[in-house]
Point group: C2
């Protein structure tokens, strides 16, 4: 009986592949589907190798969650342009591919369901959430200031919480049942709604569109 030949990959690449395989497993069949054997099969290696890179199954799941959160927030946190443009981009990015799709939601929900149980995951979540909301709050402050309004901290906080909630909710619904909405309907609703919340135009398309 002969051993199979194998490829000896650079450490970073192999870790990345294993995490990617983990996410595939979770997206396809939930956290329960992410067994070390399934992950190994998906990554094209044997199960034992996973323990060579990750101290335990918990560890690979935690790293995988970091990757998920990173992908949900990195694009939005790197918007460019003038304040109005940045705010608008932030909104659009969060409600369109690749941030908004059903795979992202499945992954996100899988981990969220364990946040209240696993303190490690809770810490990772908290970090990601506050980073996201602070980015939004600072975008808002810049935008209000650019429009000549004083950026009252209390109002910025309330606005950031409300807009963050609105974006989260619309993202959720779009991912869960995108076919219930017209093309770009959610983006359009988000822009119009946020204009109403702030009381200033941010370049939303006309409502007739």
């Amino acid at each position: 009986m002969s051993r199979r030949t194998f490829h000896r990959a650079p450490e970073g690449e192999r870790r990345h592949d294993l995490i990617e395989a983990t996410l595939d497993c979770i997206a396809e069949s939930g956290l329960q589907g992410a067994t070390v054997r399934q992950i190994a099969i998906k990554a094209g290696v044997t199960a034992g190798l996973i323990r060579h890179y990750f101290a335990s199954k918990e560890h690979i799941l935690q790293e995988a969650y970091r990757v998920v959160i990173g992908r949900l927030t990195e694009k939005a946190e790197r918007v460019t342009g003038d304040p109005e443009e940045r705010l608008r981009s932030f909104i659009v990015i969060n409600l369109t591919e690749p941030v908004a799709n059903s795979r992202s939601l499945s992954l996100w929900a899988s981990f969220i369901s364990r946040v209240s149980v696993d303190p490690q995951l809770a810490a990772i979540h908290r970090e990601g959430y506050l980073g996201f909301r602070n980015a939004l709050e600072s975008l808002l402050a810049d935008f209000l200031e650019s429009k000549g309004q004083e950026a009252d901290p209390a109002r910025c906080r309330a606005l950031a919480i409300a807009i963050n909630g609105l974006l989260d909710g619309l993202w959720l619904e779009g991912c869960l049942a995108g076919e219930l909405f017209e093309e770009r309907e959610l983006v359009s609703i988000a822009l119009t709604s946020i204009e109403a919340l702030i009381g200033l135009p941010i370049g939303a398309p006309a409502t007739t569109q």
Copy 2:
């Protein structure tokens, strides 16, 4: 070795107990924690009994999901009073106990993570979501009409989607990290925001409060 004596419960009661035990298991340790043995222990019976009431583990999970969705929506769908009062109650109910708490979120997220995988769960979800949004849309139409505004269907739809999103998002954040917010801060933000979206007062407390 003697058998333990056992209580012969009415069918409805026992099914209810088993589902409740299932929800406890899921809330405490996720879907993976809801094994037939754990459920049985939690319900104070033996594992085999579960198969007497439910054809398979999948079946008890589906029924449990129906219960979760029911609890998240039943209270809000039964508000009473004049249109403004009903709308305000709808908002408050969805952002306060017992609808908004971390256990509800854990349960909800656990199931949501499987919606895209399991068609049965997807159907149950769709039903619950549309029922909820339609209830909101009809509340809005009544409210607008009571204020002498024509209830334009397109606007009602867009408003319902936006408000539903806002409520979902705020509910989510409150459940996930309630300690990041002041007492009733989320309710207050929701009411103020929705007033801005609709363009009419609905009895939100003054912003200074």
